[in-house]
Each structure stands twice: as C-alpha cells, then as structure tokens.
C-alpha cells in the first residue's frame, strides 16, 4: 500500500475511535469529570481553606494541574486498553490484521484515539476547575506538549496492556493497582518539599511525578524538579514504549499465533 493508502487507513481508524468515544460519552467522558469535580469540591471548597499554601500557591491552584493530568493519564490509558481488548474479544481486530495497514498506522490510530479522549476529558476538567479557581497559565506551549506526550505514552501503555490481556479483569489491573497509586503518589496533592526526604527520594522513581510537575510548570511556573528533566524522562519513556509497541505489532507477538 502506498503512503496515501496508509494515510487513508490511519484516518479511518482514528475516525472510528473518535466515533466510539462520542457514542459512549457517558462511559468515556463523563465519569472522570464528575470524579475530579468532587475532588475540587472536597479539596478546594471544603478542606482547601484549612490547608496552608503550597510553595506560595493556594491549595486548589496547586492541585488542579495534577488532577487534570490524572484525568489525561487514566482516560488515555483506559480508552485504548478498552477499545483494543474489545476488538480482540470480538475478534474484530482481525479486520486490521488481514488488511495491508502497516503496524505504525494501527498503533498511531489507536494512540490518537487515546490522545483525543485524554485531551477532551482534560479540557473538560480544566473548564470545570474555572468554577472553583482562576488558574494562571505561565506557558501554554509546555501545557500542550505535556498533554500530548503524556497522553501518547499512556495510550501506548494501554495498547500493550490490551495486547497481552486475556480477560476483562486484566484490563483493569494496571489502572487500579498501578496508575492510581502512582498518580496519587506522583505529587498531585503535595510538593516533594513537604514530605520526608526518604519518601521524596522514592518519589523520584515514579515516572508520573515528572509528568505532573512538567504540566504544573506550564500553569504555575513552578515544578519540584527541572522541567527539562521532566521533558527528558517523558520523551525517553515514550521512545521506549513506542519501540516496544511497534515490535509487538511487527512480530505479531501476542496478536498472532
């Protein structure tokens, strides 16, 4: 298939994923918005006024970027793992595997679905936050770069999970037992300056810390770690995960017998 055919196939798969997201919007878009709104109510309105400022920022302002990033991460991941596993479960993944669509286009199509859902939900959460606070934007470019790269990374992570999952339980293991704890311990609710040194050291091994801090830097102009380090860690992980995903599709490992 020539480059134009590859492009057509990529557009078709991406459009199919977008239609799916919009068709099931009560499952795909709404839940995170409601959950994060509850965080805003509890930590912003109810408890926020009793919590001291963090690094010179109102508590609600400090946590909003982290909560938006949390929504981006979970939605990017869940979109792809859910869509891909369902395609495997229904065997409709065979529609792609028998076609001449190249591996990179299949990966990109699914990843873009995750990026779009992650970005829409992130945007909605950000909109809701405006009812609770006025969040400054220091560097919109950094906000957009971290949104895009993080959602691509977790979309690909979802794809790998979808490839290896054998049942529906296995697609909820990573979000429940890995992503949620890492996000909560990734500096969403606190600064590394405010926790004991031992825990701060452990936190440096948590990759989500760099995404939350890089994203927060785009809004507040503050990060616990260098924004360049955040960008470097994110890019390195992305290259690693993309290569792993490409290898899986190229060899058919986990997809073909």
């Amino acid at each position: 298939m020539n480059w134009y055919g590859n492009w057509v196939s990529l557009v078709v798969l991406t459009r199919k994923e977008i239609k799916r997201i919009l068709r099931i919007w009560t499952q795909s878009l709404l839940p995170s918005v409601i959950t994060v709104t509850l965080y805003f109510v509890v930590f912003g309105e109810v408890l926020g006024s009793r919590i001291e400022q963090i690094q010179g920022f109102e508590y609600i302002n400090y946590i909003v970027p982290g909560l938006v990033m949390m929504a981006i991460i979970t939605n990017s991941f869940q979109n792809v793992v859910g869509s891909f596993f369902l395609a495997k479960f229904q065997r409709s993944i065979e529609e792609l595997l028998v076609s001449p669509m190249p591996s990179w286009a299949i990966i990109t199509g699914y990843a873009l679905g995750g990026v779009i859902r992650g970005s829409i939900v992130g945007g909605l959460v950000l909109l809701v936050s405006l009812f609770f606070t006025q969040l400054p934007v220091t560097n919109i470019f950094i906000v957009l770069v971290f949104t895009f790269l993080t959602s691509v990374l977790f979309s690909l992570g979802g794809l790998i999970n979808g490839v290896f999952a054998r049942n529906f339980d296995q697609i909820s293991i990573v979000p429940t037992f890995v992503l949620t704890p890492l996000t909560f311990l990734g500096g969403v609710f606190y600064s590394l300056e405010d926790i004991p040194q031992a825990w701060a050291t452990v936190s440096y091994f948590n990759p989500i810390l760099y995404m939350v801090n890089g994203f927060r830097y785009g809004f507040l102009g503050y990060s616990d770690v260098s924004v360049w380090l955040c960008f470097g860690v994110l890019t390195a992980l992305l290259v690693l995960v993309f290569f792993g995903t490409w290898l899986i599709f190229r060899t058919g490992y986990g997809l073909k017998e």
Partner: protein, 308 residues
C-alpha cells in the same frame, strides 16, 4: 494460466506443540473455484489464516498472485478477501460502517469506499439493514455482512471458511448463487472450505482433501469421483415385494430395507445400474425411483479419510 495461490512445503506447529500443517504444497489457478475439504482439526483454517496474515507460519512459502507473503506482505494482502468461520466484526457498529471501514483499512479513498460499500451491501441484500447495529442481524445476515466486507476492497481471491455453517437452505442456496456469480462473471478465485460436501460438489471445480495437516488427494471433482470404485443406490419400488422375491434379491446382494425399498452397493467393474434394473425386471419388480443415500463426494471423502 497464472497462479492465484502457490503454497510450497507449508508447515505450522503452534506454541502448544500441536502440529497443524505438515509440508502442504498446493497450487490454485486464477479464476478457479477450489474446495478444501477435511475433517475438523485437519488444518484447513490454519492454512487460510496463514495466507491471510492471521497466523505466522513455521516454514514454507506462500505466494499470492505472484506476491510472497514474506517479502511483499502488504501487496499480498490486497489480493485477498476472507470470510472467516466465526463472526469477527465489531457488533456495536452499524452494518454500513463495518463495510466502509474495511475499505478504508485497505487504503481505498472515502468516495470509492462509499461506492463499493453500497454496491456490495446491496448485492448481499443488506441495504435495508445498513443503519442497524451488526449484533441485531440474524445469523444468515451476519454471514452475508462478512462476505460484503471481504469483497469491499475488490480482491482477486476470496477465501470462504465454512461460509454457510448454520444458515438455512434458502440462504445457503442464495449464497451459492452469489459466489458462483462473482467467480464466473468477475473471474474471482474462490477458495472454499466446507463441511457440507453437497456444497463442495455443487460449487467447486477442483478439490484438495486435507487430513492431519497433509493433502491426501487433489484434482478436479470429476477426476476424484472417478476414483470411486463402488457405487451405491436406493431403489423405491412401485409395489411391495413378496417374501420369495425378497429372499432371492437378498441372495444377489440386495438389502431389503422394507417391503418397498432396496439398497445395493456394487463394484463399478462388476455391475452397472442397467444390469441391476434388468435383474429386478426379471423378478417382475417395478422401480418407481432411484436415489443416492449419500452424495458421491461424501462417499469419496469418507473412503479417503478412513483409508488414510
């Protein structure tokens, strides 16, 4: 004539150490209507899945319309459309979208994809159902949807893996008519696997019989059937036989099933249907009808499978 499919020494051993194919070699000419027959687990579906890119082969070579699946997999895939044994479409998607998306995966631009989708959905009699979710279709309609989807990128070769399993006779016959039409009018190569030997006999011009991952016979239907050494027929009689006549006929090898039905199996070299009718005429028996208990292909299939 050039070859639509050329398989050389194809083998497949699954990770579970199950050997599905053991050095299969096969050639199918362009425009052929080719049947691949074999009992369950013989390797038919594995063979199709290797050609269509769903299963990796262990060794051997597969060339589709001149394109090797190893060196030119993308081109090889464009030549092939496949209707699998089990439903494999996204059940919550609309019928029209399923066919349209498949065209897109083959790189067909939207305008042409819409045109093809409409053509094949209409040809398969599903146009009225185009906006329904696929899960709402009946079993026969789901099969037809898979045929429309397999044809939407206009492949040269169509693989039909048990396409009429579980559909009623009327739909089965309309599907036969459709695949015959695309074979004859559009010169598409059809490769069919089926458990209905009547279907293979009615549709295929060439056959290969596969057992335990090996091709045990291959040739035209006529050639293969000519290898049958025995024929068997059932005779319906106009009147009930007396016990004397029954005894005499039994002594000559007839099986009297009830007073008005006779069954006989005979070696082609030793007897013929004319000779049998003559014998009955001498006994004063009037034959009102002649029929087969099983079709010829079924007899051949059973004898070959047992022999091997």
């Amino acid at each position: 004539m050039s070859l639509a499919l050329q398989i050389t020494d194809l083998s497949k051993t699954y990770d579970t150490n199950t050997v599905a194919l053991r050095g299969v070699s096969l050639e199918v000419e362009q425009g052929a209507f080719f049947g691949l027959l074999g009992p369950n687990g013989a390797g038919k579906s594995t063979l199709i899945q290797i050609v269509t890119g769903l299963v990796n082969k262990s060794s051997g070579q597969v060339v589709v319309n001149g394109d090797d699946i190893d060196t030119n997999p993308s081109k090889a895939k464009t030549h092939v459309g496949v209707v699998p044994q089990e439903f494999n479409f996204p059940i919550f998607d609309r019928v029209y979208d399923i066919v349209l998306h498949q065209a897109g995966y083959y790189g067909i631009p939207l305008g042409k994809a819409r045109e093809n989708a409409e053509t094949y959905i209409k040809e398969l009699g599903l146009w009225d159902k185009r906006d329904e979710q696929a899960r709402m279709l009946s079993g026969g309609m789901k099969r037809r949807l898979m045929i429309a989807r397999a044809l939407v990128h206009e492949p040269d070769i169509l693989f039909l893996d048990e396409p009429t399993a579980g559909v009623d006779i009327e739909i089965r016959r309309s599907m036969w008519q459709f695949v015959r039409k695309i074979n004859e009018e559009k010169n598409k190569t059809i490769i069919l696997t089926t458990h209905y030997l009547e279907e293979a006999e009615a549709l295929c011009r060439e056959l290969a019989i596969i057992k335990d991952g090996r091709i045990i016979r291959q040739g035209t239907v006529k050639e293969l059937l000519s290898r049958l050494e025995r024929d068997s027929i059932i005779l319906d009689l106009a009147t009930e036989l007396s016990s004397d006549v029954q005894n005499r006929l039994q002594a000559q090898g007839f099986e009297v099933r009830d007073g008005t039905t006779l069954y006989i199996s005979f070696a082609r070299e030793e007897s013929s249907i004319t000779a049998i009718i003559e014998t009955l005429k001498e006994e004063g028996v009037t034959v009102s009808g002649v029929r087969n208990e099983t079709n010829k292909l079924e007899e051949l299939f059973v004898s070959l499978i047992n022999e091997n």
